[in-house]
Symmetry: C2
Subunit: 353 residues, 2 copies
């Protein structure tokens, strides 16, 4: 593991731009979280939203995995829901239920009454946390990733009022009232575009868009009801001059559409071979992924085998950022994460793999 | 809708063999179920397992959608879990929890103690129900589909003890103890192969394999830990001389592997364009799917548009069986199902679509 005073080569940002790097860069979605004792300790005193709303605490949590593992990027500790507060939505996290939107948006009146937020004011805590984190990361040469939920995924939470199995209310609104859907998505697109840009201006050196629920849609519905808004936010985020990563799950049947978002990096889940995914999105994109996060719960040989397979599939070509295919599971052991990160850095791609 | 005395052309079975048909055949996964008042009425007096264990009741439920809609195939009313009872597992269905295996199989001792079932004895109720249904269907020329869960999906339920979000226990066993996994899968493969064949011998004219959880796996793990067993059961089922359908979800990044099961028909979910899926599996397969079941909850124009898109994507080529991309949702209205089935039969594919 790198000492605190080493300056790291900019391999994560270089890989986002498909420049050659000394080692494959690695970071992990949900790298700060319940699998770490330091995080669980903090959560005894603070709720999830407390940690997000207090910049010093958000900074502290962001740094926990950076201090513990040899990671090539940090991601600001936040969640995709709090920016919705700027629209007038009340969000929360309840044990066993996950994220909640208490005043779900399900009709024209609710959509029309959504506020136009002043991003600087309504997301100040995350923007401030970004500044604090940068002060700690800069001496170590580790870049910081900002992020947002994609408009479709945020719309899904806003309409359902939380997570759901089939997202019936969302899809009924989307399919049955495309006029209202557009109104809702336009508001979310303005919010997300502004929020991403504000994060870059506050110091985020890359931006990731999480479209967790995109895989609920068939390709034609994705192309019509989600993609145009993703294109708009990517375009807006890119004006800040930082690389943009678009991550979605369950979309392996329509990866070509994910690439049409225009992001610099496409994040893929583990349900597809990485080389096949890269072939389908095309060589002009960098790619991020895609180890099955569940394998970290098996013994090390199972992790090593699958990690090597991901790296061999990427074949050492510039533009691969190693990550999981989804977030770190809370049952993961920190020892496995340590070994994983170090293994990625040390691995030599097999010739001809 | 066809009268009770009409004899239907064998368009479903012909399509399974990629023969030309007069109209696109249509049936719906979970076409018998809670969205129908007749079914809800029966469930006031009987639990799910009661209906499955009593052949007359299973026959009655199987026929409910056949009497209500102009469907081209019936599917025997049963569930993927009861055959596990033959291995010594205790299964049940609890409100709000879904399927349960009370004595989950998680270690070597549990796997070794699984019984070798006498299929005729342990699944007699479904085999008997098949015979009863055939008596009612034959005069109408409607074929009957038998089915089973795939070994991987059954293993997932057996190890977890029910449904799960990440299927950690299953994947930990699979990845960490491939030797035990093979023992478990071998037993399930013998069970499923025998059960499928017994259904065909009892009168099922086609067999569908449900691999609901296959999309939990990355392609390499699927190829190693699920596919060989799927190939074995397909091979065994085919010796009965009836067409075999392999359906999985979340597998759009590895459809080529689904085709390697050797099934005659590949069922696909709605997360991929049907023409693209067909191109990837190859013209030597028939294809089944793939309307997003959620769209049936929107108004009719939304259903019509998406149904036409599926049919245009299939392009009228022999070998397309219309179905949803997953089961009918319980919130679906019977009026929408009636219109859907009739629309599929009447639709003329757009030239050049």
């Amino acid at each position: 593991m790198a000492g605190m005073t080493d300056i790291r080569p900019p391999r994560f940002l270089d890989a986002c731009r498909r420049k050659p790097v000394d080692k494959t860069p690695v970071w992990l979605m949900r790298q700060a979280g319940r699998y770490m004792a330091e995080y669980r300790e903090l959560r005894k005193d603070y709720g999830m939203l407390d940690l997000i709303h207090e910049p010093k605490l958000a900074c502290q949590v962001t740094m926990q995995p950076i201090d513990a593992f040899d990671l090539d990027a940090a991601i600001i500790f936040a969640d995709i829901l709090p920016p919705l507060e700027g629209l007038g939505l009340k969000v929360g996290f309840e044990a066993g239920e996950g994220p909640i939107v208490y005043n779900a948006v399900r009709d024209e009146a609710a959509i029309k009454s959504l506020k136009d937020p002043d991003i600087q004011e309504t997301t100040w805590f995350t923007l401030e946390a970004i500044k604090l984190v940068r002060q700690q990361l800069d001496p170590r040469g580790i870049p910081l990733i900002g992020f947002s939920g994609a408009p479709f995924t945020l719309a899904s939470y806003s309409v359902e009022g939380g997570s759901s199995k089939d997202f019936i209310l969302t899809k009924r609104l989307m399919m049955g009232r495309p006029d209202l859907w557009k109104q809702l998505m336009d508001k979310l697109t303005t919010l997300v575009g502004g929020y991403l840009k504000a994060q870059a201006e506050a110091g985020a050196q890359a931006l990731q868009i999480f479209d967790t629920w995109a895989g609920l849609l068939g390709p034609a519905d994705y192309a019509r009801f989600a993609l145009p808004y993703n294109r708009a936010i990517v375009q807006e985020a890119k004006t800040a001059g930082v690389p943009v990563i678009y991550f979605s799950t369950g979309t392996d049947g329509m990866l070509e559409l994910a690439a049409q978002t225009g992001a610099d990096v496409i994040g893929v889940d583990w349900r597809i071979d990485l080389a096949e995914a890269w072939r389908r999105i095309g060589p002009e994109f960098a790619i991020q992924g895609n180890l099955d996060p569940t394998c970290l719960l098996a013994d090390w040989p199972a992790v090593e085998e699958r990690t090597a397979a991901v790296l061999d599939s990427a074949g050492g070509r510039p533009g691969h950022i190693f990550n999981l295919g989804h977030g770190v599971l809370r049952e993961t052991s920190v020892e496995q994460v340590t070994r994983l990160v170090d293994f990625v850095h040390q691995y030599q791609v097999k010739p001809g793999a």
